[in-house]
């Protein structure tokens, strides 16, 4: 069997998106939890725990975007215009939370402003991503590859719901991250936050799982037709186990278990989504093969990806290793006079 470049690239894209969702998910989540934390010192620690890594985490999103441009250009030029305003809102959210890292600790008198900008930017970015995701699942309105939905077609209850669900999901990841990275009262608070957001996520995931087949009959057929249903059963079962592990971990005050289980739950949710949408690049309109760029383009970038991605993982891992363990007063911002 010949190796199908398009499938390899779809796999790389999926890995990239998973890396993004997990990594930027927890640092957006720290921003989402910001409004609930009343102590400025604790907020310093929260920000300090992600300060050395957020830039790299966000780069996975850029990589995802650029892979779609380079490997699936037909899909890139169709999808983005269909979600123009939510994507733009997401970008503004990223800008606001990104500059807030620098400005917050360098403007001690204006901390009350920049902490809100940081939280607001993180929430806006996460919520907009959820809207894009919902709209993507629900399908766009195309006439001969020209988007016909109008600028406000994303305004739909389902999309708002997926927006809120993603905010809750990132909040959960952020809470579990902080359980790993903090100590004392901040850790206890993070654990409480992780429980609140964990409950929200479970409710949201249940509702999305019921609502999605209702929004899209094809997804309904894929999941609830025998014998496929049996093959697909492990996904919801494993997701249930991940949540169980999350709760046990939080209840017993474990350090790493809640984060790892939350990540597993996210992965399974993502696998479920991939099963629902395979093999479409633009749901119900264009498959990954129809969306793909020329084989020469895919080959050329594949060499780079095969060499660079292991190196990226190695030095990114090294950075996480350097900053391992709970964040302390010697880390992060705010201690440079």
């Amino acid at each position: 069997m010949e190796l199908d470049l398009v499938v390899i690239w779809a796999g790389i894209l999926v890995i990239g998106v998973i890396m993004y969702v997990v990594l930027d998910g927890f640092d957006l989540g720290v921003g989402i939890l910001f409004p609930f934390q009343n102590s400025r010192g604790n907020r310093d620690h929260m920000m300090g725990s992600i300060a050395p890594v957020w830039d790299g985490n966000e780069t996975w999103l850029v990589m995802g975007g650029v892979i779609i441009l380079a490997i699936f250009p037909r899909a890139y030029s169709m999808i983005l215009p269909a979600v123009y305003l939510p994507i733009f809102a997401m970008l503004l959210g990223f800008i606001l939370r990104g500059v807030a890292f620098e400005f917050r600790h360098r403007s001690p008198g204006a901390e009350h402003i920049w902490r809100k900008v940081f939280a607001g930017g993180s929430i806006l970015a996460a919520f907009s991503q959820g809207i894009v995701l919902g709209h993507f699942i629900g399908g766009f309105n195309f006439e001969q590859s020209l988007f016909e939905g109008g600028p406000w077609s994303w305004v739909h209850p389902f999309n708002f719901f997926t927006g809120l669900a993603l905010v809750a999901g990132y909040g959960l990841l952020g809470g579990c991250w902080l359980v790993m990275k903090t100590t004392g009262d901040l850790r206890a608070w993070s654990r409480k936050m992780a429980m609140c957001f964990g409950a929200l996520v479970m409710i949201a995931m249940a509702i999305v799982s019921i609502w999605t087949p209702l929004v899209d009959p094809e997804i309904d057929r894929r999941w609830f037709t025998m014998p496929d249903m049996l093959w697909l059963m492990p996904v919801p079962v494993l997701a249930g186990l991940a949540f169980l592990g999350l709760w046990v971990g939080l209840y017993r005050d474990r350090t790493h278990q809640p984060f790892l289980c939350a990540v597993a739950a996210f992965l399974l949710g993502f696998v479920g989504l991939a099963i629902s949408l395979w093999p479409y690049a633009v749901p119900r309109v264009m498959t990954i093969w129809d969306a793909a760029s020329s084989p020469a383009s895919q080959q050329f970038l594949l060499w780079g990806a095969l060499v660079a991605i292991p190196m990226i993982l190695a030095y990114t891992g090294y950075t996480y290793w350097v900053f391992r363990g709970p964040v302390s007063d010697k880390d992060g911002y705010g201690h440079d006079g």
């Binding site: 890139y76 970008l91 950075t319």
Partner: protein, 443 residues
């Protein structure tokens, strides 16, 4: 000028790109400067270098953060506003930008954390390595993005597919397209010149205000040395770049020079008011023969005029014409300032020449302004094409885009960028005024 979705998209892209380019321009040069300072400290053990490193790295961090987030916007704007463009170039330029992400963005982002926050967690040599990797990342980034931009100016190594979009045939020809080496050299050096003048201006301010006078004198001398090497070099690189443009995009040169008609013995137009309707210059001040002499190296060399293409294939001449003069004028001003600085230093009067230090503060942003003006020259000069003589800008815009959508995003992004710029200047000037912090503190 009709404010439709196309025009608003052009304004938005121009605005977001111009805002973005200021920050990489500062960080490419400053990252190399920081690598030099830390290397010099490791080699000589002289604490002055370390203090300077700690001073400049904080300002670098501020500019770097804004550069990163404002760059993410551009990646997505290709698809949001320019779906015709991204569909057309995706196969060819997508992989180039992909290489930028893989080799540059991740490298910068992976090591910036250690560079800014890791000094107490890793040894000095590893920290120096992280600084070098960040500097290398910023340079790689320039390599790939300029390859992509240059391909849009002088496309090569591709063919048009049956479906009507560009597909790669020869990657070496795509990357090393005819204008790429010139544009890359000109831009990387622009970054060095701009950084040198920003560093010199801030150092001069500190010297004048007696903020760590001796340390900042060292910084000033280093920056002026950097300026004295890079500013004259920039004139040479710019000239070479111009000759390359004359060969591949003569109409752009005609717009820069304000030449409406094809003539031999072309004059050098110093000033004029180019009129698009009348296709002629008003209030022209020019020097006979000099245009031909500079561009063809002979007194009677023939230069192609704007009349060789129809009116709708011409760029908007006044913009190209004036942007070029702003760039070149500031370039000569910076060369003068750099030489003057070396002369004063030679006479041992640098520290006491208050007038020069004050002048230097005013010239501080000149490199950044010149860089933006240079980009306006080359990008506006390519119009009405987005991929030169292959894809028109009007065919690049997203067909389904409506005016109100772009108006919303343009207003929102303008407001956000304005606020960020103001806060950046405020926070930045406060950090400048604080001077170098005691050595050993967290960065």
């Amino acid at each position: 000028m009709e404010l439709d979705a196309l025009m608003l998209s052009r304004i938005q892209f121009g605005l977001t790109t111009a805002f973005h380019i200021m920050f990489p321009t500062m960080t490419i040069g400053t990252a190399l400067f920081l690598a030099f300072l830390e290397g010099a400290w490791l080699k000589t053990g002289n604490e002055v270098y370390r203090r300077l490193y700690h001073y400049w790295v904080r300002l670098f961090a501020l500019a770097f953060g804004i550069g990163v987030v404002s760059g993410v916007v551009l990646t997505f704007e290709f698809g949001l506003n320019w779906s015709g463009y991204s569909n057309f170039i995706g196969d060819v330029l997508g992989p180039l930008i992909g290489y930028e992400v893989l080799t540059a963005f991740f490298l910068e982002a992976g090591f910036i954390g250690i560079m800014l926050f890791g000094e107490r967690r890793v040894g000095p040599k590893l920290h120096f390595f992280a600084t070098c990797m960040v500097a290398l990342g910023t340079t790689f980034s320039a390599f790939w993005i300029l390859a992509a931009n240059s391909w849009m100016q002088t496309p090569a190594g591709y063919e048009i597919s049956a479906q009507g979009y560009a597909v790669p045939v020869d990657w070496m020809a795509v990357i090393f397209n005819p204008s790429f080496p010139y544009r890359l050299a000109h831009m990387v050096n622009a970054s060095l010149v701009s950084s040198a003048f920003v560093i010199a201006a801030i150092s001069a301010w500190c010297v004048l205000k007696n903020v760590e006078r001796e340390t900042m004198m060292k910084s000033l001398k280093l920056a002026l040395l950097m300026a004295a090497i890079t500013a004259p070099l920039q004139a040479f690189l710019g000239d070479q770049h111009g000759l390359n443009t004359l060969e591949y995009q003569p109409i752009k040169i005609a717009a820069i020079e304000g030449h409406w008609e094809t003539v031999s013995e072309a004059p050098l137009v110093l000033f004029a008011w180019p009129d698009m309707e009348e296709a002629k210059n008003y209030y022209e001040v020019s020097i006979p023969y000099l245009g031909s002499l500079i561009l063809t190296h002979s007194l009677d060399g023939t230069l192609i005029g704007l009349d060789t293409v129809s009116a709708e294939d011409r760029p908007y001449v006044p913009l190209v014409f004036f942007a070029f003069r702003i760039m070149a004028g500031l370039g000569f001003l910076m060369i003068g300032m750099a030489f003057l600085g070396q002369w004063l230093r030679h006479k041992k009067r640098l520290e006491t020449s208050q007038w020069y230090l004050k002048l230097l503060i005013m010239v501080g942003p000149a490199g950044l302004v010149a860089t933006i003006a240079g980009w306006i020259t080359t990008e506006a000069g390519r119009q009405p094409w987005v991929v030169y003589e292959v894809l028109r800008t009007k065919d690049a815009v997203t067909p389904s885009l409506d005016t109100s959508t772009v108006a919303i995003s343009l207003i929102a992004v303008s407001l956000v960028y304005l606020i960020i710029l103001l806060v950046f200047l405020k926070v930045g000037s406060r950090m400048v005024a604080q001077g170098p912090q005691p050595a050993g503190g967290a960065v």
